[in-house]
């Protein structure tokens, strides 16, 4: 049974946990376990160098690390639950920073604080039911609009587009959204106006377009004057002067995901000429 023994040895070797820092930027698969940095030092081979003597010899100093999407705590390690690239953000203040997995997904799961575009599907009493693309429709109260009172109701019909943010979004409760910020101002939220086109893209593309240094939006803005709304649930609403321009913009944004920046610049220059 030598084969069985060698197979067992390979299996055990394969599932040894790797340090999180050594895997940053690489593709990780579900089932992998990652060691946090301070554990790595303790368990690594021959952790030489000076270490200050601690008064209680047994206790390790704990660094507080935030587990983002795609990771779960498993004992004192991180378990990867989604496939994607591992990322890390250094902390502003004290603490160990945030680790998360950048994965490509189409289905949206409501998260508190996210701004999304929803479609009103029903009006029951004082609450609108809004479809946000998740597993349940979100509820939106008619008082959650700027300047809304019991006498002064907002003009919202079934089929309207709403841009709002989640105030309650967890796995156990029905998601609730509002079109008002904590100060009571609309801040761009509310019913989205007439015309325009709503289309769906992947969540990764939305995050890429909303990143602070994204050139795509600046280039698109130079092409035609436009109004655009991004929802974190993968929905984009776009409106330009004519229907043709609107359709061109929608096609460009959908295709952006698979194009390299050179191809994009080519297409933009071709459109700018015509």
């Amino acid at each position: 049974m030598a084969e069985a023994a060698s197979v067992a040895a390979e299996c055990l070797a394969g599932c040894r946990a790797r340090g999180a820092r050594s895997v940053l930027g690489q593709v990780v698969l579900p089932g992998e376990e990652l060691l946090l940095p301070e554990q790595e030092d303790a368990e690594g081979p021959g952790g030489a160098g000076e270490r200050p003597l601690s008064l209680n010899a047994g206790a390790r100093s704990r660094v507080r690390v935030i587990c983002g999407p795609g990771l779960r705590r498993c004992g004192d390690r991180l378990l990867v639950t989604k496939c994607g690239r591992l990322r890390h953000k250094e902390p502003g203040g004290g603490g160990g920073g945030v680790y998360w997995v950048d994965s490509q997904q189409k289905r949206y799961v409501p998260v508190k604080g996210d701004h999304v575009i929803g479609i009103v599907t029903a009006k029951s009493g004082d609450i609108f039911k809004v479809d946000v693309g998740g597993s349940e429709p979100a509820s939106l109260s008619y008082l959650s609009f700027e300047g809304a009172t019991k006498r002064n109701r907002p003009n919202v019909q079934v089929g309207d587009l709403i841009y709002g943010q989640f105030v309650v979004a967890n796995k156990d409760m029905e998601p609730e959204m509002v079109c008002i910020d904590s100060c009571g101002r609309a801040n761009g939220m509310g019913v989205i106006g007439q015309d325009g086109l709503l289309f769906k893209v992947t969540l990764g593309l939305i995050r890429k377009l909303l990143a602070p240094d994204c050139e795509i939006i600046q280039e698109v803005g130079k092409l035609y004057p436009l109004e655009i709304v991004f929802g974190m649930n993968g929905r984009i609403w776009v409106k330009a002067k004519t229907i043709q321009q609107t359709l061109i913009l929608a096609n460009i944004l959908e295709a952006c995901e698979h194009m390299t920046s050179d191809q994009r610049k080519q297409i933009f220059s071709r459109l700018a000429e015509s």
Binding site: C11, V109, K171, H258
Partner: protein
């Protein structure tokens, strides 16, 4: 034992596709996988093992009927459609096996009162169908971004009348074998998740098949890793 024809690994030019190079000791057929090929489902994958090909689509976490909802975890449904004809009892039993494997691996407690549906369509059947369905389902679940605690793969073994073990048998080998065993293993500790056996075999032969499956699963998981790395390298 029949000699398998080893073909060269070809890299497909489509998004997220990949094919496996075959190791010297492993007699699995040439396999290939393509992800994100369907536009409607949240995740989709096509898995090819030799001439057996299965297409999988995953929808979820999505709305669930009140009669089917479970208060603390996701309802997992598997639908398997054969190539010709209406689904029968054999498809129902395979659906149950695949569903039990997926339920052991998917973190359903993160999405209570939702449904995760896996739809499998048999495109061509040339042996080892259940293993190919399991592999396609796993790749489609990964493509959909459903949280999982491990990846899983399926491997089929066939024992013929003089006790020789053949991995990944063709339909002809399956018909002539005295026992056909299919196992599903996970990638964390190569533990057994599901076993489905048909025929006559001894205890020692069962252990031999399990060991061979665990060895072969390494090749499959290496292929998964390469395929997923190729997909993410394009972004």
């Amino acid at each position: 034992m029949e000699e398998e024809m080893h073909t060269d690994a070809k890299i497909r030019a489509e998004t997220g596709a990949g094919s496996s190079p075959r190791g010297p000791g492993c007699s699995l057929r040439h396999f290939a996988c393509e992800q994100n090929l369907l536009s409607r489902p949240d995740g989709s994958a096509s898995f090819l093992q030799g001439d057996t090909s299965v297409l999988a689509g995953v929808y979820g976490p999505a709305e669930v009927k009140v009669s089917k909802e479970i208060f603390n975890k996701a309802t997992l449904e598997v639908i398997l459609r054969p190539k010709i004809g209406l689904p029968g009892v054999a498809e129902k039993s395979r659906e149950r096996l695949i569903r039990n494997t997926c339920e052991a691996v998917v973190l359903g407690t993160l999405h209570p009162r939702t449904s995760i549906t896996v739809v499998l369509q048999v495109v061509s059947d040339a042996g080892s169908l259940l293993a190919c369905c399991l592999n396609a389902a796993c790749m489609a679940l990964v493509d959909a971004g459903v949280p999982m605690r491990a990846l899983f793969c399926g491997v089929t073994c066939a024992l013929d009348s003089d006790g020789t073990l053949v991995l990944d048998p063709t339909s002809k080998q399956e018909k002539e074998a005295r026992a056909v065993l299919t196992f599903a293993v996970d990638n964390v500790e190569r533990k057994l998740l599901m076993s489905s056996t048909k025929g006559l075999f001894s205890d020692a032969e069962l252990q031999q098949c399990l060991a061979a499956t665990q060895a072969a699963s390494q090749h499959v998981f290496r292929f998964y890793r390469e395929s997923l790395q190729r997909r993410y390298s394009k972004s």
